[in-house]
């Protein structure tokens, strides 16, 4: 009976860092990817050849490391081209598991892009912001997986444990990341609520203009626009430390335009 009176017990489920697999025959791109994602404390695995990629994915499976959050695959993989990225994904789907696949394109015509997108592939151009775009997707997938685990624990495991033991569980999944996110989130909410005119609509995003108070509610509820603004704070913080992805641009000739 006393167990039923206890407050919920917190259980901590540590998660690994966000994981990304990069398959591309462009060694410069692989080097940049490894440098960039490592600097963000992601677990990155990179393969230059199709054979290496298959071996690494097989090894990942055998060692039961779990699925990658994102697999970024060259749309024309191999030099010369050995396999199309979408065919690679179909061939090795059993090894990629639930990883979100992003096809990386150096050059693709509109028709081919439309066809791939129609098949459900996410296609990104090999632009100078590609790694930053991938990082956002990797974070989002990692966060989604965290949410899925929380959901399974709350909906499946927690009721069963309560039924058997009378103890209510409150899962804390990946507490470090969640805590960092919450810290940014509540800092932003506080900042928004202390604007001089918090009811004036000035924050335009997509088709809407939000006031500071309205945006604070979006951030609190972690809606898409709210989360975007929290991530925007993170980007601003990286910029203030001169760590943003376009870092190399900072050192151009100040007189040129």
């Amino acid at each position: 009976m006393s167990a039923l009176m206890d407050p919920p017990r917190e259980i901590t489920i540590p998660l690994a860092a966000p994981r990304v697999f990069v398959g591309d025959d462009d060694q410069d791109f692989l080097d940049s990817s490894e440098d960039y994602f490592s600097s963000k404390h992601f677990d990155v695995t990179a393969a230059r050849t199709v054979e290496q990629a298959a071996g690494m994915l097989e090894e990942n499976k055998n060692q039961e490391k779990g699925d990658f959050d994102v697999a970024a695959i060259d749309i024309n993989y191999g030099d010369p081209v050995e396999i199309k990225g979408n065919d690679f994904v179909k061939k090795y789907q059993h090894l990629l598991g639930k990883a979100k696949v992003v096809l990386i394109s150096g050059e693709i015509n509109a028709r081919e892009r439309k066809k791939l997108e129609g098949e459900g592939f996410h296609v990104l151009d090999k632009s100078r912001t590609l790694l930053e775009e991938l990082a956002v997707i990797i974070h989002a997938e990692n966060r989604k997986r965290t949410g899925d685990i929380e959901k399974v624990i709350m909906e499946v495991a927690a009721p069963r444990i309560k039924e058997l033991t009378g103890v209510e569980l409150k899962p804390q999944v990946n507490p470090i990341n969640k805590s960092a996110f919450n810290s940014l989130k509540y800092t932003l909410i506080k900042w928004l609520q202390t604007r001089k005119n918090p009811d004036k609509p000035v924050l335009a995003y997509g088709g809407h203009i939000y006031s500071a108070n309205e945006m604070a509610k979006e951030v609190e509820r972690e809606t898409e626009v709210g989360v975007k603004h929290v991530l925007m704070m993170l980007r601003e913080y990286e910029h203030s430390l001169n760590l943003d992805a376009n870092d190399s641009q900072q050192h151009d000739d100040p007189n040129e335009e």
Partner: protein
Amino acid sequence: MTHNNMTTQTKSNLADGGRVILLCAPSHDELTEYTSKLLEAFPDLSVPTVLRKIDGPLTYGQLLLELELSTHQRAPDITLVFCGHAEPSALLVPAYPPGTQGHKNSLGPFYDNSYVDLGPTLMLAFCCSAAAGLGVSFEHRTAGRSFIGFKDDILILAEEGTYADCWRSILHRITSALMSISDQANLEKSVRKIYRDALAMFPADKDDVYDWGLMMRGALLQQQADLKVIVT
């Protein structure tokens, strides 16, 4: 000279085969009322310039006819600057005339993929997502043309004063760069420098002066990250 929602040169001046800047400014809701003002008093770039405020249905083709700039032999070299709502495959304007139901909320295409072959030579799409669709069309279907836009929804701090002056300066300087630089690497370099200069206007140690400084930096960084510069 203001005429029919249009600040314009005479039509004969426009269709002389030279260069023309078309500033297209939908103005029908809170956001577009703000962005349309950014195109007012556009600094002189020594090129005939038309500011067309758009408060009802209009297509790019209709605008060319209206200005007598349609496909005749003396068709000029057009730079289109659009500020407003968009989706990847289209720049959007009100779908219905002012005063009708749904005027503020219903959007229809001003410029979509069907117009890409018609022009313009240079386009600045200061709006959400157009680079993800129209930009791709420019990249694959055109030659000798340039496009600047964004790949995703963008943040805009819709406040007056220094903030609005900053957006105006960005629009003016990007348009100027678009018209004077014809290789992709240098154009992109130039546009990114414009954004860095804008960021320098709102340093963190002046956040006590600029109440929205943090958000302005965030918006500028986000736009910079989603920027797409295409020269074909």
